[in-house]
């Protein structure tokens, strides 16, 4: 890839050429067996897979080109040349087998087993065995469900299985030497010298993370397949989880990934749809809903992720911060409350004293003892739905999607005077506690006062800053018209459809105006088009 770029205000003409090579080689040996005897269907599969991948990167650049008409590296000034290159490789090997058995499409059994070895682990801890089983019972094939027209299909499913995860960087069990640079004084001038150090603590016996899932499901169709229901309930237990737990800082190495701890996830998925026709109008309505909750088991430690935490009893990436009691409105209240520092003033955040070194509130707010779990950060109750209509050549489609509940943090949208640039977001304007306000205005103020000194204390994560970040989005609306075939034929077309489609048209959420629950880059798109087949 070659890029010639001019960097914004400090415009220089720069040429970067990079060549990345990615080699992935998968070799498989498979043996299949299938046999049907009467109502009995048996299949078996045995296989071996070998995977190897190597990645190499190489890049060269020069900067401050005088002309951009000769986009080759040789034409650039030699003083501003730079280059880089790196490589890594990974491999795994698997042996696997599968056996299935079905009796008259009524009873279904499947068993799998695989043995995987990964280059990411030390040879002593490299191999893992992961079995799985599943059962199915098509009840609608049974005689006791024949002769009725409510249920047209009914299947019960159950499965249990283990899977391994090894995705944690390429050489986690080795203490890798990282290179850097330091400046030295030599012969009257500063010179740069290469340095080398082991940065990561090496955990030799790091191995597979295993997830055991149990799933029970139901597929049911009613009224001649007009109403369809797919439901699943699952439980997953992840053990030997690969986490970069916080190790004591004085060990002097970066937090290594370790096999530690357990996580329990319980969830449901539901999918319901109805399709039918009334006269010439075809229509269908469908909706889906899923919910899960992950709770951490014994981890043997804590993983801090900014304002979030993973610890025994917490949810996966749960918010972790103070309990807020609002904004201080009177000096008297400030004087008589436990505080984070002696510099807290009226208009600052008031926090609750939860505990202290001896396990009881100590009259002081401190990050060690007064922060609590403030709820999971992952979306809860995600849902979606579609409506489709068709009438002769006309078609209409609409889809929505959303999240029922999600604890989101307001901190990102309410930062003010960032980097001393003097910018204040509109959300805060008129909603902030201030000395210049009347007491009534201050009582109604939503946000704590503007302060540089206590900014860190007020803007530490607390229950105050969390809000329900759930949303509902009109994802897509499409209207189309297919020209009748007899007209299309005349223009030598097989079919012709005209359509107008809008994406991300509307969104309902509690996010401040201008911010989107799904982050930056979501824009409303309108497309009009013609699709023609000849």
């Amino acid at each position: 890839m070659v890029t010639l770029s001019e960097n914004g205000a400090n415009a220089t003409t720069r040429l970067v050429e990079s060549r990345n090579t990615n080699l992935a080689l998968t070799t498989q040996l498979l043996a299949n067996y299938a046999r049907t005897i009467g109502g009995h269907d048996v299949t078996a599969l045995a296989g071996f897979e070998n995977y190897y991948s190597k990645y190499e990167s190489l890049s060269a650049s020069r900067d401050q080109y005088l002309f951009d008409g000769y986009p080759y590296l040789d034409q650039g000034p030699i003083t501003f040349r730079d280059n880089s290159g790196s490589a890594y490789e990974t491999a795994y090997r698997s042996y696997f087998g599968r056996f299935t058995y079905a009796y008259k499409d009524k009873y279904l059994i499947q068993a799998n087993v695989r043995r995987d070895g990964s280059s990411r682990f030390n040879s002593k801890y490299r191999w893992g065995v992961f079995p799985s089983f599943s059962l199915g019972w098509v009840m609608s094939e049974e005689s006791f469900l024949k002769g009725q027209n409510v249920l047209s299909f009914l299947k019960l499913r159950g499965s249990w299985g283990k899977l391994g995860n090894e995705r944690i960087g390429n050489y986690p069990y080795l203490g890798i030497i990282s290179f850097g640079n330091a400046l030295f004084y030599q012969a009257g001038a500063a010179t740069s010298q290469q340095t080398a150090a082991q940065v990561q603590y090496a955990i030799e016996n790091i191995s597979w993370e295993t997830t055991t899932s149990t799933n029970i499901g139901l597929d049911a169709n009613f009224f001649n397949d007009r109403l369809r229901l797919v439901g699943d309930v699952y439980q997953k237990e992840t053990s030997d989880m690969l986490l970069a737990l916080q190790i004591p800082i004085f060990v002097g190495f970066e937090n290594p990934n370790q096999n530690t701890g357990k996580m329990n996830t319980k969830g449901i998925d539901l999918d319901l749809s109805w399709s039918d026709r009334i006269g010439n109008v075809k229509y269908s309505v469908s909706g889906n809903l899923s919910q899960f909750k992950s709770v951490m088991g014994d981890l043997g430690g804590t993983e801090f992720l900014g304002d979030q935490i993973k610890r025994q009893g917490s949810q996966f990436n749960e918010w972790y911060g103070y309990m807020s009691d609002g904004i201080y409105q009177t000096q008297e209240d400030v004087n008589n409350s436990p505080k984070l520092s002696s510099n807290v003033k009226v208009g600052d955040m008031k926090y609750r004293d939860i505990s202290g070194p001896s396990g009881v509130p100590d009259g002081k707010i401190s990050p060690e003892y007064d922060r609590v779990y403030l709820g999971g950060s992952l979306p809860q109750w995600t849902y979606g739905g579609t409506i489709r209509l068709g009438y002769k050549g006309l078609d209409f489609g609409l889809s929505i999607q959303g999240v029922g509940k999600q604890n989101s943090s307001m901190l990102d949208f309410t930062d003010y005077n960032t980097g001393n640039w003097g910018r204040f977001p509109n959300v805060l304007d008129g909603q902030t506690w201030s000395n210049y306000n009347t007491p009534e205005q201050n009582a109604a103020a939503i946000y704590p006062r503007y302060t540089e000194t206590n900014k860190g204390l007020n803007r530490a994560l607390s229950s105050f800053w969390l809000f329900n970040g759930g949303y509902m989005r009109l994802k897509n609306v499409t209207v189309g018209y297919t020209i009748p075939e007899r007209f299309a034929r005349k223009a030598l077309m097989k079919s012709c459809r005209l359509y107008v489609s809008g994406t991300d048209l509307w969104c309902l959420s509690r996010y401040p105006k201008g911010w989107d629950p799904e982050g930056l880059g979501i824009v409303t798109t309108l497309i009009g088009g013609v699709s023609v087949n000849f």
């Binding site: 070799t27 290159g85 490589a87 050489y171 290469q194 080398a196 190790i247 004085f250 060990v251 984070l340």
Partner: protein
């Protein structure tokens, strides 16, 4: 017919064996620590790392005396002046973290140098200087730690994670004694100076026991005399990259470069 089948199968098997690769893969672009520290150039790279500005950074990493009341910013008070520090204050965690990183790297190298392969590859006189340099850096970082934090966790070996959970703080006087011991051992071996063309690394200069005032630069001379108030703030010269050059000369020629601010820290 059967033999053709066997030949085909064997050929296919050989083909697969050709694609077979080892699962024993090692980093291609970086060495692993198990094999490092075995010759002079590898050791000197490891030593260079201890001169990185990260371990020698002045207050808040941005300039000298930023923590003191000599430096004020128009819009912001630093947390020490505002009285808003707590255990989440980035500056104190960074200082703690970086000092221990340097100490762990020095301890890691000290352990690695004490092995037969290294001893066979490196002349004993050079090895002694490497060890002295490592001890100097370890001691300097502990000096910084006790200056700012008082009692700290002390270890002269790499701490394993299991060990870390049971380790407590060591009395600052005990740590100081170990610091002095490391400095004395380092001063006994380090050269008086380096040739003009060589890299300026640490010398006997700042460590000579007969010139105890020179130890000021590490903040540890005045400190024990003025208990309980650590009377020193990390000297910062503004020009970090030259730091090793100053270290390599006797301090007396640059008396003003190292400033001591008493009564500054709580």
């Amino acid at each position: 017919m059967k033999s053709i089948l066997y030949i085909a199968l064997t050929g296919f098997g050989l083909f697969l064996a050709g694609c077979q690769n080892s699962l024993d893969l090692y980093p291609l672009a970086q060495p692993s620590a198990e094999k490092w520290y075995s010759n002079e150039s590898e050791i000197s790279l490891a030593l260079n790392d201890l001169y990185r500005p990260d371990w020698w950074s002045p207050d808040e990493g941005i300039g000298s005396e930023v923590l003191s009341d000599d430096v004020f910013n128009r819009t912001t008070l630093s947390p020490i002046k505002a009285g808003t520090t707590n255990s989440q204050w980035g500056t104190s965690t960074l200082l703690w973290r970086n000092s221990y990183k340097a100490i762990a790297r020095a301890n890691r190298a000290l352990a690695a140098l004490d092995n037969p392969i290294t001893k066979a590859n490196v002349p004993p006189a050079k090895l002694a200087i490497y060890v002295a340099e490592l001890k100097f850096h370890r001691a300097a970082q502990y000096a910084r730690l006790i200056t700012y934090f008082g009692d700290v966790v002390y270890s002269d070996a790499v701490i394993s994670i299991e060990e870390a959970y049971t380790k407590g703080r060591t009395d600052k006087k005990t740590v100081l004694a170990s610091v002095y011991k490391d400095f004395d051992e380092a001063a006994a071996v380090l050269p008086q100076n380096y040739p003009a063309s060589a890299l300026k690394r640490v010398t006997k200069g700042p460590l000579t026991p007969s010139k105890p005032e020179l130890r000021c630069i590490w903040g540890i001379l005045k400190w024990p005399l003025r208990l309980p108030k650590p009377a020193w703030i990390w000297p910062s010269i503004g020009c970090i990259q030259r730091m090793p050059a100053y270290l390599s000369r006797p301090l007396k020629t640059h008396p003003k470069l190292f400033l001591a601010y008493p009564d500054l820290l709580p």
